[in-house]
């Protein structure tokens, strides 16, 4: 059983398109995160939800909008994709902000 799963694993799309990445965790955790890993492998936090409430919202363009329909899911919707959005996006979950469990990542390529 995969603890934190993301779909899709790969996403190739054109500039200007809108796309979504989905994340689900079956660990019963109360906190979920989105991280962006750029081409230099730098991991930067984007958002975090605790019990469906947004608790971390870093300096991210408004084109990025997270949605948490329930504690087990955190989706990321991106509008008007740009070349600079190309990266690997990681979902993670934890209990009360403790040890992070990561998904396997979604590699987004914007052409």
């Amino acid at each position: 059983d995969t603890a934190v799963s993301q779909t899709p694993k790969y996403l190739v799309t054109q500039m200007g398109n809108d796309k979504s990445i989905k994340c689900e965790q079956n660990l019963g955790h109360d906190t979920m995160y989105w991280y962006k890993q750029d081409s230099k492998k730098f991991l930067k936090i984007m958002f975090s939800y605790n019990n469906k409430e947004l608790i971390i919202n870093e300096t991210v363009p408004n084109r990025f909008s997270p949605k948490s329909p329930d504690k087990a899911h955190l989706n990321l919707h991106i509008n008007s994709l740009e070349l600079g959005d190309s990266a690997v996006y990681f979902c993670a979950s934890s209990v009360q902000g403790e040890k992070l469990f990561f998904g396997s990542g979604t590699q987004l390529s914007v052409l």
């Binding site: 934190v4 906190t31 995160y33 991280y35 230099k40 492998k41 730098f42 991991l43 930067k44 936090i45 975090s48 605790n50 608790i55 971390i56 990681f90 993670a92 934890s94 009360q96 902000g97 040890k99 992070l100 469990f101 990561f102 998904g103 396997s104 990542g105």
Partner: protein
Amino acid sequence: AQRVTQPEKLLSVFKGAPVELKCNYSYSGSPELFWYVQYSRQRLQLLLRHISRESIKGFTADLNKGETSFHLKKPFAQEEDSAMYYCALKASGTYKYIFGTGTRLKVLA
């Protein structure tokens, strides 16, 4: 502002040699420090945390508040230690993890 610095992007050592991956942090409060590791084709996972004071896969890390460092050490590197290592800081009482830029460790045969 919270910051984590890993000065080495790439560290190459020979099998059996000691290894030290450096991590320095900037935080005015009481931090929680972690090391996460990403092996090839695997997801990022926790290696160890300073409050556990444990050794995982032969690795240890000591929090030095005076030097604001949390270096990761192993006395004898193994080829299977080759991976990407991230140092991370979490401010006490928060849910926010700040990661360093990562160090790729290559252990040569």
